[in-house]
Amino acid sequence: MLKKVWTIAKVEWRSTVLAKGFLLAVFLTPLFIGGSALVQHTIKERGDTEDRKIAVVDADGQVFALLAEAARKRNTEEIFSKNGGVRRQTEPRFVLERVPADPKKDLALELSDRVRAGVIFAYILVDPGAAAGVEGKRVTYHTQTLTYTELPRWLHEALTAVFRRLRLAGTNLDPAVAEKLLEPTPLKWRSLTKIDERGVRVEEGKINLATTFGVPAVAMLLLFVIVFMSVPMLLHSVIEEKQQRIWEVLVSSVSPFQLLLGKLLGAVMVSMMLSMLYLGGTVLFAETMGVSDEIPGSLYAWFLLFQLLALLIYGSMFSAIGAACSELRDAQSLMVPAMFVIIVPMFGWVAILRAPSSPFAVALSLFPPATPMLMLLRMALPPGPAPWEVALAVLLTSAFTLACVWAAGKIFRVGILAQGQTPTFRKLLSWVLAK
């Protein structure tokens, strides 16, 4: 039996990996992902350096000078990167323009028209008494580019500092002392102290937040990409064989279940080949970036285990749908609920990234169709799930995988010889439950 399964798997693997479309996808996917990251980096480095002009209506006349001083400091010191020793502007300058308050003019309308005409980017109105903290007096920010948040964020920080300075000036405190008293407390992130396996005390160390969040996200997305580069091939292969009437010849030599296993094994081989390529590339990249120590070796093993489980779960679903349909377009209606199950991990992964041990995270990562992606995500995120959670996840998902393969085998048995109308889910269920 196994020899025939292996024979089918080899043919499936060969026909997939030699297809031009697959080869293109293998090489274009990392290029596309890498390319988009490069584009984003380039845009960040070079893209947005256009001056932002801001009109300031300062009724009291106290705020503008201090705010302009803060802008000058920012524009000369804080908007440059020093990559490779070369100083390059990476952010726009904020250029302030003083507009005298004039009760006879409708300044709000006039400045709004200037914003709409593109002469200025935004304007702020500082009410008289706002700096002194008079109740009801405020500063308002006006723009038509609401999605640009860097400017209001800077204005908020800068105005807070300016107002604090103006208010302190009205007290008897020495400005230098006052400044010292109000200096923000620095908070450094450091790792926990521990005793390592040799019994040696390991002191706190620096934390790389980029890898802390990046490694889990990349691991999960990589798993997603690999699985969904392999699994749709199964659907196409099954439907193609059905359309070309190859099924009857095949099931005269092997049982439908052997055929399904052969196809799944072929898909596993394809995806393992992709893993070798992409994980190899990831290791090389991590080595180059000097962060390879921050990826635990065991994560690779878990990645492969969850990849296998995901492939068998989704592969069974796609194969069963292919067997039940005569045409690719017929498969679309059955794919909708299957796709819903598949994208469950995508609904929850950002929330899990923020709170990996929350009840929501634990529950969703124990939902078998989502476990491969989400438990891998949690395992890559410190502090990681409890051992019992991992054990339970593997147990539940393994059982679910077996159930999926078994049900797909039952659907295969009937579906591959069925022609005509696409079966309903009720019909598929009756095929699964039939003796």
């Binding site: 024979t7 026909s15 070309q244 009437r245 099924w247 010849v249 095949l250 030599s253 049982s255 010889l417």
Partner: protein
Amino acid sequence: MSDEPAIKLQDVTKNYGRHTAVDRLSLSVPRGSVYGFIGPNGSGKTTTLRVIMHILLPDSGIVEVLGARGTRAANDRIGYLPEERGLYKKMTVRQQLAYYAALKGVPTDEADREGDAWLDRMGLTAWAGHKVEALSKGMMQKIQFISTVVSKPELVILDEPFAGLDPVNVEVMRSAILSLRENGATVVLSTHDMQIASEMCDFVLMMHKGGKVLDGTLDSIRDRYGADTIRIGVNGGKAELLAAEGVTLVRDLGRLQEIRVAGDPRAFLHALSGKMEVRHFEIVTPSLHDIFLRIAGPDA
């Protein structure tokens, strides 16, 4: 060679919902014979062959193939050519043959050897390295046949093997099938072409509406139906013949009439010649087609 039949079916029934495709069918296929399933489209031939291959499971009855009862255990020793042909278009001819043989447990080198011999015989050697999609329909039919026999099966089941072939390729296929029998294989073929069946088959099973209406050797069938049909030329028309004593059926063939009589044909001739001039008188052996029409009626 074993005396056990290659295939034995006992009271096999297969339903599709409320439709009975095969109805309490029993048969026995002797080893080393060419056994023909004949009958019109929809008579249950293909379903029966699928049941024999265990592609479909019967609702009731016993299926025994090459000594294996109710299992797929013998399937590696069976070559099956389904009615709906299927080949991988992107594979080369040789890869195709090797794959189908491997699924029967035959090693690649053995499959290549046997496949090359068949390709040579069918005049397709030059195409061995070509992709299937480059072949003509007739060539594909031949490749499909070779993929059925490349594993050197003991039992070969061919569902409508002549469908879609031109007369030249029908002869090539007929010769290839008969050579299988010469090499000791048992051949079961289904066809709705009764002429081919009568020329090739040692045994015939006639199906109609899922049931068996006739089976046996060709001679035994003709013996049962062969002595009552006469082709006759007379100076009179159909009405006069129908009025003659003992005539049960008259079929106008144009210059001649074909009639069926009850009783001895010679006595009928003697009686008829006293009433009208008889120009032509011939006792004919009925074809399978005629016998089938007689059994199944005009709705067949």
